[in-house]
């Protein structure tokens, strides 16, 4: 195991991404799941174009929050106890492990957001405006959700009950991200300033990152 914080982060993130390349559950399962959810909504509530344009952005972000977190779950909680023991014996800094897993989850979440976003734009005729701020929002949400999912993933069992619990735990905590993202898009559409919403989301990211790093070592001492 390499020493040094950032090399370890890169090693952990690389391992996670390699695992995703082999198993491909984000690409083949979670993304299609998010996409079909977007498909189901108009079937249930009506296909009127005006209505869909109205609810489209909100539906997209809800799907990101609820299903996107599954991206982080798979990577964080797939470590069994023997694997965790092996990692700590090899000298892996738990905080580096946390940041590494969150980093790989962020990347996968970005892919999720972009692909599902394209589907949403197509099905709901969402206008793509303010692209720089929009991309920033996508990135901040991806980081925030990845951090929440990774942190929550590390406090549940690596059992099916534990994995099922993560979305429930993350959902209420993701409200500032949900409101920030939806209000940011609203603001871009109406030409308002969205700085306060962006700062709120950044605050979420910082808070969760700090707590995750500080509690990584205490959590391992189980």
């Amino acid at each position: 195991m390499t020493t040094g914080f950032w090399p370890q982060v890169t090693a952990v993130a690389g391992r996670d991404l390699l695992r995703e390349r082999r198993q491909g559950d984000v690409l083949w399962i979670t993304i299609p799941f998010g996409a079909i959810a977007l498909l189901l909504v108009p079937l249930a509530i009506g296909t009127d174009a005006v209505l869909l344009r109205e609810i489209g952005p909100g539906m997209y972000w809800v799907i990101v929050m609820l299903f996107g977190v599954l991206v982080a779950v798979g990577k964080a909680s797939s470590e069994t106890v023997p694997q965790q023991d092996a990692s700590s014996l090899l000298g892996l800094d738990p905080a580096a492990g946390f940041v590494g897993r969150a980093a790989s989850a962020t990347l996968l979440l970005l892919v999720f957001e972009v692909v599902v976003g394209i589907v949403a734009v197509g099905l709901y005729d969402i206008s793509v405006i303010g692209v720089p701020w929009l991309l920033a929002t996508l990135l901040i949400v991806a980081i925030g959700l990845a951090l929440l999912g990774t942190l929550t993933g590390s406090i549940v069992n690596s059992t099916s009950t534990g994995t099922a619990l993560v979305p429930l735990l993350v959902a209420p905590l993701s409200v500032p991200l949900l409101l920030g993202a939806t209000q940011a898009y609203e603001g871009l559409r109406l030409g308002h300033s969205i700085v306060s919403w962006v700062l709120l989301m950044v605050a979420v990211v910082l808070v969760v990152a700090i707590i995750g790093v500080l509690t990584a070592r205490p959590l391992q001492e189980t």
Binding site: I155, L169, L173, L179, Q183, L200, P218, T222
Partner: protein
């Protein structure tokens, strides 16, 4: 041998007495000028909400204290307070709905306080769900403490986001009374007595609930030991032949 405390009576007595007192004041106080007798619902709704926030604050303190000291007592305090907090939050929401229906004609409005309370309910429900998945008291304490801290620290951020969201989207036509304007000192007294009574209830329930966690952990520990085979089981008596 586990230490067992003597059976305590005072918590139950305290609960009964304080609730009786609060009920008396609530019934005796005068009706409100605009809301009429519906204002009496406030004398249980507001205390329930106050206790909900207090309980979750205690969970936060307990979680931090546990991670710093590693004494399981703090974990028990955090967990007991979370469960009682979930109860009071649910009660506050239910009472808010019972008050809202005759007042505004709908069970639910999406105002900031109600929405925030509902979100808090799910945060701590998740905390309880997490505790149920782990048997080992130390692992359970570690995990719960982290969630307790993350949840509590996120609450202010959730609060800001919901309040900003509502100020942007508040329908201007609905005149919402935020709560009773206190016209009569007896109304204020009824409210304060209610808050005090519920606080006594909280403390009493805490004492008993912490005891229960302690007892159940001891019982689980005994059952775990009882389930394990004794080392000598693998050794059988030698067969010496001959008649038994």
């Amino acid at each position: 041998m586990p230490q067992q405390t003597r059976v305590r009576r005072w918590p139950w007595v305290a609960i009964a007495l304080s609730l009786a007192t609060a009920l008396t004041f609530a019934l005796v106080s005068p009706p409100d000028d605009t809301q009429g007798d519906l204002v009496r619902i406030m004398y249980v709704h507001v205390p329930a909400a106050w206790l909900a926030y207090l309980a979750f604050f205690v969970t936060f303190i307990g979680s931090v204290a546990y991670l710093l000291t590693r004494h399981l007592r703090w974990d028990r305090i955090a967990a007991a307070s979370a469960e009682i907090g979930v109860y009071f939050t649910g009660l506050a929401i239910a009472l808010g709905m019972i008050w809202a229906k005759p007042t505004w004609g709908v069970w639910w409005t999406w105002d900031a306080r109600l929405t925030l309370t509902a979100i808090m309910f799910f945060v701590y429900l998740g905390y309880l769900a997490l505790r149920r998945t782990t048997d080992d008291p130390v692992a359970r304490a570690n995990r719960s403490a982290v969630l307790g801290i993350v949840g509590a620290v996120q609450i202010p951020l959730v609060h800001f986001s919901v309040v900003w969201w509502r100020t942007l989207h508040q329908p201007p036509s609905i005149i919402k009374p935020d709560g009773p304007a206190i016209q009569d000192p007896m109304m204020l007294v009824a409210l304060i007595v209610g808050v005090l009574a519920f606080t006594v209830v909280y403390v009493s329930l805490m004492v008993e609930r912490i005891e229960l966690i302690h007892l159940e952990d001891q019982r689980n520990a005994f059952e775990r030991i009882a389930d394990q085979s004794v080392a000598g089981d693998s050794v059988t008596a030698p067969d010496l032949g001959g008649s038994s």
